[in-house]
Symmetry: C2
Subunit: 208 residues, 2 copies
């Protein structure tokens, strides 16, 4: 039995790696669609093309799959923020960050919904990891933005709320896609324009 959390753990075979990956891919699909409680091992097994007991041969249980998946995605999810560069032009950096976040919401809507559901339900699985990995990064990047504002290279505003509004506006296109689709029914240019709009929004706020 390959254990997913303990230490020595030989070396995982090729089949190990392939099947664990297939399970996590399937779990992303199912958990992001139905949430942790709404998802069943049957769905994940069907989606992965494996039997249910076989799923449990690779993971300790439903929660193990979920936590493993969230952690595997966390770094990717934080990357756009990590890339905020102190050496770049402030406004350009922020706008590029907004664009990266929007691209991610568009390209990885399932990942966005997975995290949104987890946070919405109180972050019961992720809280310790968010505290450990996300909070320090957030603090550092807010300090960077504050420096930019203090040196007059960005219009002053609250950096924390700036970050919140960047996440909210970009992730909205993934997390609330069902609503957007309903509201934009029979609209010609549906789905376009978000990038230009957000650029305009944050430029209006931050340009000195």
């Amino acid at each position: 039995m390959p254990d997913s959390s303990s230490q020595p753990a030989k070396k995982p075979s090729r089949i190990q790696l392939r099947n664990r990956k297939r399970i996590l891919d399937a779990a992303l699909e199912v958990f992001s669609r139905d949430g942790f409680r709404g998802a069943t091992l049957d769905q994940i097994a069907a989606e992965a093309g494996l039997s249910k007991p076989n799923i449990l041969y690779y993971f300790d249980g439903k929660e193990d799959i979920h936590v493993t998946l969230l952690n595997a995605q966390l770094d990717t999810w934080l990357d756009p923020m990590l890339a905020l560069d102190a050496k770049g032009d402030p406004l350009t950096e922020i706008l590029a960050y907004v664009q990266r976040k929007l691209d991610m919401a568009r390209q990885f809507p399932r990942e966005s919904r997975l995290f949104a559901g987890e946070i919405l339900r109180g972050a019961s699985f992720m809280a310790p990891y968010l505290r450990r990995d996300f909070q320090p990064l957030f603090e550092a990047k807010c300090a960077l933005v504050q420096d930019w504002m203090d040196s007059g290279r960005l219009q002053a505003c609250d950096p924390q709320h700036l970050m919140f509004s960047i996440w909210a506006t970009t992730q909205h296109y993934a997390d609330f896609a069902a609503q957007i689709e309903i509201l934009q029914a029979d609209k010609p240019k549906a789905g376009s324009g978000a990038s230009a709009y957000l650029r305009q929004l944050f430029t209006g706020l931050l340009k000195v």
Copy 2:
């Protein structure tokens, strides 16, 4: 048996009204916290102070409670948008709308999370009602904002995306409260500043 969906339905007794209300209050607490699938009738019954079979005496089942609750909240949820007044000063109207939405997120976070969860899971219960009640209102108010822009009283931008960004930024404070709390740990002024920030954000965008 009081039926919740049929037509003639005598007149509901005082106990009827009181207990249905108690159940919906309990359901708001439980569904907003754990989602539709995560919530159980046991939890709702305990929260309402009634036995589980008694819950099912007043409602046809778990889904009936959920749909009734969502519909009962929908009008309230749309009120801030309905109040956008064509006769008011455009920028003042928009900023007041933002403030109303922020106030609602702060005052009714459970309602916000209830809707957020429903949309996130594809709006499977609400879609028809959103199409019927929300979509026409959205279209009308977008047209109003477009008129304001066409007449030069607001800086031109995409009205639909403007609406999306208003909802996203304001509801974020309710829907992602767990994340905000983690990120603002040991921050002195945690929880304040959103109102001023959002005013600044949307003024920067819309001021002519």
